[in-house]
Assembly symmetry: C7
Homo-oligomer: 96 residues x 7
């Protein structure tokens, strides 16, 4: 099976499908503000190097994360769509 080992502070995220319609099928824009997307981390890089020191990653495999709608680059692996983004593009980890 194919996988990607991200470089630096990049992570591979498997996005959850966006729910943009209500059950009755209407599109409801709640606000003009950008809403974050949700996904699951499937691979993380070793962290970026700053002034000779590697900064450890905060997120890990299996984390449910929120990120901006325009974060990352799409990549297809064995027919599934993933996103490669920098950890700094991740807003936070969803818990509970």
């Amino acid at each position: 099976m194919t996988s990607i080992k991200p470089l630096g502070d990049r992570v591979v995220v498997q996005p959850k499908p966006a729910e943009e319609k209500t059950e009755s099928g209407l599109y409801i824009p709640d606000s003009a503000k950008e809403k974050p997307q949700e996904g699951t981390v499937v691979a993380t890089g070793p962290g970026r190097v700053e002034d000779g020191t590697r900064i450890e990653m905060t997120v890990e495999e299996g984390d449910d994360v929120l990120y901006g709608k325009y974060a990352g680059t799409e990549v297809t692996l064995d027919g599934d769509e993933y996103l490669i983004m920098r950890e700094s593009d991740i807003f936070g980890v969803v818990e509970g």
Copy 2:
């Protein structure tokens, strides 16, 4: 119950509803300048790392804070609207 653990120097803020009308219902623009919004901090990240040292956060849960009208990204948790923003987007803490 769902919650978000912000990364780096991000905070989750529950905004207070803006009062843009007078009691009689008129919109009164006092000035062309951007006015800050007010909200309550409900979660804080661990702080960002600079040159290998983590900078501690200044705001904490329960703080009433002021922030710019365009700060942060909206996120919905269990039906409530929150904002995820960087601590540097916060102007100050309201007291008294």
Copy 3:
């Protein structure tokens, strides 16, 4: 009474009313250059952190300061208008 504790190197300034008219009521543009505004510092933050060290603030409460016409964000406290700006937006302290 409500007050604001600014974060980082921000200060709260109570602006003095601009005098843009002569005594006889005429507007006299002396120059196309931006003229600084004058105000009084009413609260200061603890200073910003650079490379793990907090840089002490130079201005203090009660200082009369000059700042650019477009500096800061307006905020209303108990009916009075204030500006929250960074110390670096302040040009100098007026003395004598």
Copy 4:
């Protein structure tokens, strides 16, 4: 045979041909997002110098890498097309 010794953190990549058509010959745009390209590293620089320390390269010769569609500069060596790009333009290494 001609070869290129890249400077700093640059790498020479031999790109794989993009498959933009289905077997029946139709172009299928899956998404408006930029898709990474895939190639094989054929030469790496010694790494860039930051604050007097050389940062070691992460990728090595023979690695299959993903990079942005607009990354790098084309160069022709003995009739074959290559790309010279910075290591930071590489998203990750494909494994398996």
Copy 5:
């Protein structure tokens, strides 16, 4: 008498009147290039802080300095016009 204590690496300069006309009253543009203005330093800040160290100022009160036509912000003190600018806006000191 009113005076200004500049913050950081700012200086207060009293500009000399520009001579843009010849004695016979004609305007003579020598070149399309910006010409520096000349003025006298009347107050200097303590210098800016970089990495916890204060960088000493180079110019001092009484120095005749050259600066760009668009440098600084005009301020009126007791009826006289001054400019507040950063020391880095000053090209050099006129001697002799």
Copy 6:
């Protein structure tokens, strides 16, 4: 004979003439991507200074180098055309 001693991390390069036509005289654009130019290093600066340390140059006199089409500034010495560019404008050294 006139020569140039470049400052900092600049190098003087004698460009090789571009071959943009086939032997039969047709212009063949292979790709919309920028193609690097090739030239020979004839002089190098001492290297730039970063944080008080001089970074040694990587290329040396006689090296065949690749650089971007828009890199450098043309200079004429004793009737010959050269380019002065920064070492960071050089992609790599051609060998073999």
Copy 7:
């Protein structure tokens, strides 16, 4: 006699007149590329301060230097035209 003591890493250069015509009086554009100008250094600053250390200047009085066509600011001293520019605007020193 009037002279200028440049601040930081600035230098005062006396430009040589550009020769843009052939002997028979025709203007010959060799290339669309910017050509450097030549001049003689008549004064140098003490060097700029980086992280508390003064970086020594490389050029000195009397050096013939090349610089970009748009580098520096014109200044007139005792009727002669000079340019004040940063040392980093100088490409190299002409020798021989």
